[in-house]
């Protein structure tokens, strides 16, 4: 486990539901419920799942944008949630976040040159005189025209803004980046450009990504290992090729069968799930997926399946595998 850049151990993030006259806690929304995985140096770990499955909450809790409820996050051996404010601030440059919405994650009143350079200044990583030069360099690297440096965010298109978001994340030469659905707000042609940019930057700078997405084809293109989330829990975790060739969990099978094939006329067996994802405030007993699983057995309704390693580096939480 020497190579693990990030280890997430039994991470939980619950939001209290308050009610009644006195505002007592009457329940919890289990946004992230007992998630464990590790990410190796230089890999791209994909986290997929429907909306509301807790992918983003996981990403944000890992970087401590949200406080955990239970569990542990170790980044290069450091327990992120045990740091005090100063220590956390010092660690920030090493792990960055790319936001889903490039519109709202940029301050409308700050020129992008300043938005990109301010962290370098604030952390004292570069003297003031060199900051602008570095900003221009990274802008060019991210495919932004350098003469746009003094513009405001509202003067850019969606794709350009996402490039700014990426530029801001790599500005301080981080080791690890959580990319939270970075392409889902963009149209398809721009998506391809941005995904290629991710790949190029990874090659150049030996970056490690946690790539959160609901788009399986994007994840297949970019990721080395993939975790499938459902209702706050990981159901399956496997290297990309194995997951796509031979999915083990019924949910993963259903997900993969929804991806359109690039070969016309070739038909694939389509597994259509019935109903919606249950509420994370009141998850089903036993296996969380049993309400929609086509192969459901009695044991699924009663016992929570363990998230176990079925073969090398393949984890699955299902009674039937």
């Amino acid at each position: 486990m020497e190579n693990n850049l990030l280890e997430v151990h039994r991470l939980k993030k619950y939001y209290p539901i308050t009610g009644g006259l006195l505002g007592r806690t009457i329940g919890h929304v289990k946004a992230v419920d007992d998630v464990s995985f590790s990410i190796q140096k230089g890999e791209t770990f994909g986290l997929v799942g429907e909306s509301g499955s807790g992918k983003s909450t996981t990403g944000r809790t890992i970087l401590r944008l949200l406080e955990k409820t239970e569990g542990e996050v170790r980044f290069q051996g450091i327990d992120v949630h045990a740091l005090n404010r100063q220590e956390l601030r010092a660690l920030r440059p090493r792990m960055q976040y790319i936001f889903q919405d490039p519109y709202s994650s940029l301050n409308p009143r700050v020129r992008i040159g300043e938005a990109l350079g301010e962290a370098l200044l604030d952390h004292g990583l570069l003297p003031q005189a060199e900051v602008r030069e570095r900003v221009l360099e990274v802008m060019a690297l991210c495919g932004l025209a350098t003469y746009h440096v003094d513009r405001y965010p509202h003067e850019f298109s969606g794709g350009q803004r996402q490039r700014i978001g990426i530029a801001r994340a790599i500005m301080m030469n981080p080791d690890f980046i959580v990319a939270d659905e970075p392409v889902s707000a963009l149209d398809v042609s721009i998506q391809a450009q941005i995904i290629n940019l991710f790949a190029e930057l990874q090659e150049q700078r030996k970056l490690t990504y946690l790539f959160i997405s609901h788009d399986l084809s994007v994840v297949e293109h970019l990721c080395t290992r993939i975790g499938v989330m459902y209702l706050g829990s990981l159901l399956e975790l496997a290297p990309r090729d194995e997951l796509f060739l031979e999915p083990l969990h019924p949910y993963t099978k259903a997900l993969l069968s929804s991806v359109p094939l690039p070969i016309p006329k070739k038909k694939r067996e389509r597994i259509v799930l019935q109903g919606d994802m249950p509420s994370p405030a009141n998850p089903p007993t036993g296996c969380k997926f049993h309400t929609r699983c086509p192969y459901v057995k009695d044991i699924c309704r009663q016992e929570v399946p363990a998230f176990r390693e079925v073969s090398t580096d393949r984890f699955v939480a299902c009674h039937l595998v």
Binding site: Y97, S105, P108, D122, A140, L144, Q204
Partner: protein, 308 residues
Amino acid sequence: MASTVSEIAEVTRPEQVALRSSLWHEAFLRLKKKRLAMVGLVFLLVMAAVCFIGPFFSPYASGKINTAMINKPPSFSHWLGTDSLGRDILTRLMQAGRISLTVGIASMVLSVSIGALLGALAGFYRGWVDQVIMRVADVLMTIPGLPLLFIMGAVLSEWKIPTDYRIYIVMVMLSLIGWPGLARMVRSQMLTLRESEFMQAAEVLGLRDRRKLFFHLLPNLTPLLIVVATLNVGGAILSESVLSYFGLGVVPPTPTWGNMMDAANTLIDFQKRPWLWVPPGIAIFATVISINLLGDGLRDALDPKQKR
């Protein structure tokens, strides 16, 4: 790989190199398109110019009493007539404008500074800081403003404060009752802003509190502050007039628009000598209306997301 990047840069390059834009410049361009706001702005500038420069061109000293010229209607030598002590109304009106505008602007600056600072601190730090500041604001807001000012004015009269100082004390009084409303607005805006995605981004970058506050949060508050400040000036001028009208603010012989109207406080003045009270009334009315028009225009113009 380098080639793809430079290709993309090529594609996004327009024919002309754009000029370095400025949000303030754009906002001013948008403001220029709003006719009513511009009317207000021009009127205010003219009013200020007349009040501050005008008296130098007047042949009459503002406090000069002339018993031969009591209560004369407008004429060529006295364009707006004279008052019960034979003083030239136009000269006094301009002198009064200086004081009214100064009091209005100064008490606005004070109340906006206090309100913005306290509101920003409450919203940014929350917890007990928030509790203390907002409870003080609540208490101040539960006390009706006008009676409070009356009481304070009466106390000042009792203490025999020299009239020159009373102007400053009036400013402080006005700003002391003026800040809680603004502090609340700033606080709520602050609470919204600190939850915004770009503040999450600032957190991820590990920026210091100081930078978050002064570089990210306050610039987003300035449009609100400018609008509120503008409208506050109008309010302060009105309050000062009300106070002076009741003889509790600036007291004669120092003229203000309010106490000039107060001086015409008899039925016979009201019925027979409109030149005593109409000009200061119109001055107050027009100034406050102009300020409100300008404030409304600024509100729209300062939103950077708005398209021209």
